[in-house]
């Protein structure tokens, strides 16, 4: 995308630049009026976008088919409107019906979908020994296998982590610490990449680097 030339677009670019500085005034200076203004502006804008996008979704999936003759679509429309009874304390129980359908579908799909990838595939990959592998491959295989068993034992909270369970659960905790450390390392990349994007935008608007 090249630096815009249309007046409204250039104005928009600078508006965005100043809004970015308003948000950055919180960590770089202190909480102030400019930050609170930008924050509330963001919430208002996001609220509107979410509302309209969902509105167009409902029109697309439910209302338009209903108007084209799919009479059954009146049912989810009515069920969806029943959710708003949550705002009226004495009729709040009516909203439980649409919630029951959402929750039931979610749980049913979750249960049937999670067994193969998160249990079966994970366990099979763990217990499958390396074929023709060297010393490093076998070390890694044992590391993952032992680590998995010990880490799962750590989550067995119905038994006290003492006696026979003391050492394996302690080892399991160490494996979990390594995993969390790796997760932290990746989180840092995520957060700093977002910051990098903003640093780049800061310089691009000032035309110090090409857009």
């Amino acid at each position: 995308m090249a630096y815009p030339t249309a007046t409204l677009d250039v104005i928009g670019l600078w508006v965005g630049w100043f809004l970015m500085l308003m948000i950055y005034s919180l960590p770089l200076y202190k909480e102030n009026v400019a930050y609170r203004f930008a924050e509330h502006l963001f919430i208002g804008v996001t609220l509107a976008i979410t509302a309209i996008t969902n509105f167009s979704n409902i029109m697309r999936m439910c209302v338009t088919p209903l108007m084209q003759g799919d009479i059954l679509m009146i049912v989810p429309l009515i069920l969806g409107l029943m959710i708003f009874t949550m705002l009226i304390p004495e009729y709040r129980w009516i909203s439980r019906y649409p919630i029951a359908i959402m929750v039931g579908a979610g749980f049913g799909l979750g249960i049937r979908g999670t067994i193969k990838p998160n249990l079966q595939d994970a366990i099979i990959d763990t217990i499958t020994a390396p074929t023709g592998g060297g010393l490093v491959d076998w070390f890694n295989y044992i590391w993952v296998a032992v680590g998995l068993v010990c880490s799962i034992l750590y989550f067995m909270l119905t038994y006290e982590h003492s006696g026979v369970l003391k050492t394996p659960t302690r080892i399991g905790r160490l494996f979990l610490m390594i995993a969390l450390g790796g997760y932290f390392g990746n989180t840092v990349l995520f957060r700093f990449t977002m910051l990098t994007g903003r640093a780049q935008f800061f310089l691009q608007v000032l035309k110090l680097i090409p857009m």
């Binding site: 960590p27 963001f42 708003f84 359908i101 249960i111 390594i178 995993a179 969390l180 790796g182 957060r191």
Partner: protein, 216 residues
């Protein structure tokens, strides 16, 4: 009698829908029209329910303005921009079926929402930086292992790590592809088992926390 419709029938409905989803998967070779209908309804209900958040937020900010509470002026700004975008977006949708066809909505979407959205989340990067200096202490073996694993992954992710010493990339790769696998796989397995247990509790009507009004 009325209590049955407020409780037992609701729990039974949850259980039936859960069971139908499971039965479709394990007992039928192809997707069934009755299950597709339920799923479509669930999606539509989910979309409609998202308006609840907008309504609640509008109500709470309106109360703040009425009572002239702290920062009520900002609540006014929030509701004003919300109203402007909503009206212009609906106008665009009505005219062409696409909300961004309205010029004002499109401009606000591109030049107000985009920079704000892209800037608000990254400020946590600053806090990670100060937390790294002030809070990440290798006080015991657990914390030391976590820090070492984190630093190795960071040096693997950043090209400078390999430039300083190729071993950083090797060790970082080992942490990514082997070191952290037992822990992360454990979280996946334990999460899956928890979901299954929670789901069966919902199927049997024992799980009631997500119904409005709790255990009435």
């Amino acid at each position: 009698m009325s209590n049955i419709f407020k409780q037992e029938v609701v729990y039974a409905l949850t259980g039936i829908v859960t069971l139908l989803m499971i039965v479709e998967y394990f007992f039928f070779a192809t997707n069934q029209i009755w299950a597709e209908t339920i799923r479509t309804w669930a999606v539509i209900i989910f979309n409609i329910s998202l308006f609840l958040g907008a309504i609640r937020l509008t109500m709470s900010h309106s109360v703040r303005i009425q009572g002239k509470r702290r920062d009520w002026q900002f609540s006014g700004i929030l509701l004003a921009i919300f109203a402007i975008m909503l009206l212009t977006g609906v106008a665009g949708y009505i005219s062409t079926g696409v909300q961004t066809s309205n010029g004002i909505y499109n401009w606000l979407f591109n030049y107000v929402y985009t920079p704000l959205g892209a800037t608000l989340y990254p400020i946590t990067g600053f806090y990670i930086f100060s937390a790294a200096y002030r809070a990440f202490r290798a006080r015991n073996i657990d914390a030391t292992l976590m820090l070492i694993a984190g630093c190795l992954v960071m040096l693997k992710n950043a090209p400078v790590g390999e430039a300083i010493w190729i071993g950083f990339a090797t060790l970082g790769n080992w942490v990514q592809f082997t070191g952290q696998v037992p822990g992360m796989r454990t979280l996946a397995i334990v999460g899956a088992l928890g979901l299954i247990a929670f789901g069966f509790r919902a199927l049997l009507g024992k799980e009631r926390g997500f119904y409005a009004g709790g255990g009435e």
